[in-house]
Amino acid sequence: MLKIDNLTAQVEDLTILNGLSLEVKPGEVHAIMGPNGAGKSTLGNVLAGRDGYTVTGGTVEFDGKNLFDLEAEERARAGIFLAFQYPVEIPGVSNMEFLKASVDAIRTARGEEPMSSMDFIKLARAKCKEVDLPQDFLKRGVNEGFSGGEKKRNELLQMMLLEPRLCILDETDSGLDIDALQVVAKGVNDLRSPDRGIIVVTHYQRLLDFIIPDYVHVLAKGRIVKSGDKSLALELEKHGYSWIDEEVA
């Protein structure tokens, strides 16, 4: 479903992604690990279509189509979901309004009717429970005054409501205590399905105890330098990233 081939991308004239290739098939869970500044978030942002990132080479196909032909909102409607590493606070816009607007946009794109307000409120409340957020979070401003963990759970809530084809979770585990981590892991595991792809970007092996990935990749210096199964994550945990640098050199 997602085929990245030799992708290079720049931020402010600085090359961050440098020949990155990765293929995700439906039903697979890929973990991407790598040192700080390796380009993990950049990859997520480029895939989601954020302004300020210039693709300078390579191709990305999503469901057989050139991803770069689509605007950011069209990618979301096509089923790409990026759970932000740093979710934005938007005071004055309630979480409920934001979620409803988003769900309606996605449903409309799929040729479905927008949900009635009543049905939507019911659904949103149920999902709130699943991610362990109190219901009054729906009335509050989007992420406004949420703790780090609450913001991450709010991302998960959105992901559950939108039921994307491809989920990209950018360090959704960082800053979470063990309980919250399990909530996130359960949410992600529930979303695992034969027609959905999942990319989990993480810093720590810890999350992968709960979300067992099919593949683990190491992203360093803007490309995938090593791939393996979940045992690679354990190795990284033990030895850090420096041995990979040596191996690559």
């Binding site: 279509g49 950011a72 004055g92 816009v93 309004e97 409803k100 988003s102 401003g141």
Partner: protein, 433 residues
């Protein structure tokens, strides 16, 4: 042409029609100062960014006879209020007044009331150098004087529902509202302005709020006239010791709106919360001049004004904080943020700090910005279209202040009004309504 020429006949007609010599003298005093004041030009500091040309194309007349109007002005749902309806500056109707509240009218003053009116008006806060206070005094035909007795806790808000009638073309409507809140009394005052006229109208209202020691007032001053209306007026407030004024201002619609808000901290421990929003669109022009006069120690002021300026509209915000030399331990904060939603929109924001005391905390910030890219991307990444995202974000910028309002019914009234304002096409506001 200047305004004194355009309004001279109105002043003369008014003067020939009274047997109250004090009043006639009081008006002519103001008239002569007004007529002698050079008419503002671009070089006049106070009106540098607000041209008054649209006032000088019409020969203004005072409203005559009984006001016609079928409109109900601004209504709030599920909010029991004591409503006083003013059509074209005349009190036409009012609900039964609650205990402890008296209302007097200048136009119906008995001989003994006249004496009290004279004292009250002369002791008033109106600024004799301020152009539109002078106009108000020179043309003054009605004063609504509300007194709230000591220790009264008004359950229902007082709502002064000012309506400009459909017959008000070419009228100048000067009106003065005095609200005196006595010691330890507590009240909510809602002032709304709306218009049914489709010709040129010039409304010139002054509201004066006198809060005695420990008095508390929540004040809404909502300017909602649409169309060919010029609204130039002032709100002046005086705070006694430990008095608390919580004020919310809003301006939208109409060709020209200018409001001068002055608050005098005159009793130690007084507290002010002053918030406001303005949303000019099309070719509208909205100007707020606020001035906080900290005259005594230990007072606080928190002021937040936000504006969204669209199309070819223009906004002006001038926020002055004046801390007198005795006003030690003052805490005063002012923030003004503006959002321009079109390349032709314009805003001039100017902070003015004058501090003569050394032990004070004072902060002042003014910004002009576009919508934040990272917020916008968050919406796009969730499939929401750019225009809808822009509408929701802009609305959020203003809604943040609405969320802080004490009274839910005001929020419920304003929310859809503002949401609709943002919707270039209704569909983009559908998730706000």
């Amino acid at each position: 042409m200047t305004l004194p020429l355009r309004a001279h006949r109105a002043h003369q007609t008014l003067q020939s029609d009274t047997d109250w010599s004090w009043l006639s003298q009081w008006r002519s005093q103001a008239w002569s100062t007004f007529a002698d004041t050079p008419w503002p030009t671009r070089k006049t500091e106070d009106f540098k960014y607000t041209p008054l040309k649209s006032l000088t194309n019409t020969d203004w007349e005072l409203p005559t006879g009984s006001a016609k109007g079928t409109g109900r002005g601004v209504e709030f749902e599920n909010w029991p209020r004591t409503v006083l309806t003013l059509i074209d500056g005349r009190l036409t109707d009012h609900d039964e007044l609650p205990e402890g509240v008296t209302v007097k009218l200048l136009s119906k003053a008995s001989a003994e009331d006249r004496v009290r009116f004279e004292q009250r008006l002369e002791a008033g806060l109106a600024d004799n150098k301020q152009l539109f206070s002078l106009v108000n005094q020179a043309l003054l035909s009605e004063v609504v004087w509300i007194e709230i007795a000591a220790n009264q806790q008004l359950e229902k808000p007082l709502h002064i529902n000012q309506i400009i009638s459909s017959g008000a073309q070419q009228r100048v409507i000067p009106v003065r509202v005095l609200v005196d809140v006595a010691n330890s009394a507590r009240a909510t005052l809602v002032e709304t302005f709306s218009s049914e006229a489709d010709g040129p109208v010039f409304i010139n209202p002054i509201t004066e709020l006198m809060l005695a020691d420990n008095a508390r007032l929540t004040h809404y001053h909502l300017l909602m006239e649409q169309g060919d209306v010029r609204h130039l007026g002032a709100v002046q407030a005086q705070l006694g010791a430990y008095a608390n004024l919580n004020a919310f201002h809003m301006a939208l619609g109409g060709v020209l709106k200018r409001k001068d808000i002055t608050v005098y901290h005159r009793g130690s421990g007084a507290e002010l919360n002053l918030n406001g929003v303005y949303l000019p669109r099309g070719k509208e022009h909205i100007d707020y001049h606020t001035c906080l006069e900290h005259e005594v120690p230990h007072c606080t002021s928190q002021e937040v004004f936000r504006g969204i300026i669209g199309d070819q509209a223009k906004a002006v915000f001038n926020g002055r904080i004046h801390i007198h030399k005795d006003a030690q331990k003052t805490l005063a904060q002012l923030s003004n943020k503006n959002l321009l939603t079109s390349h032709q929109a314009e805003v001039d924001t100017k902070p003015e700090l004058e501090i003569y005391a050394d032990d004070v905390k004072c902060a002042h910030g003014a910004t002009i910005s576009q919508l934040e890219q990272k917020s916008l991307f968050y919406f796009l990444a969730r499939g929401i279209s750019r225009p809808e995202a822009e509408v929701m974000l802009s609305f959020g910028f203003i809604n943040e202040l609405l969320e802080g309002l004490e009274d839910e019914p005001v929020r419920l009234l304003l929310r859809p009004v503002l949401a609709n304002l943002f919707a270039k096409e209704d569909i983009w506001a559908r998730h706000l309504l």
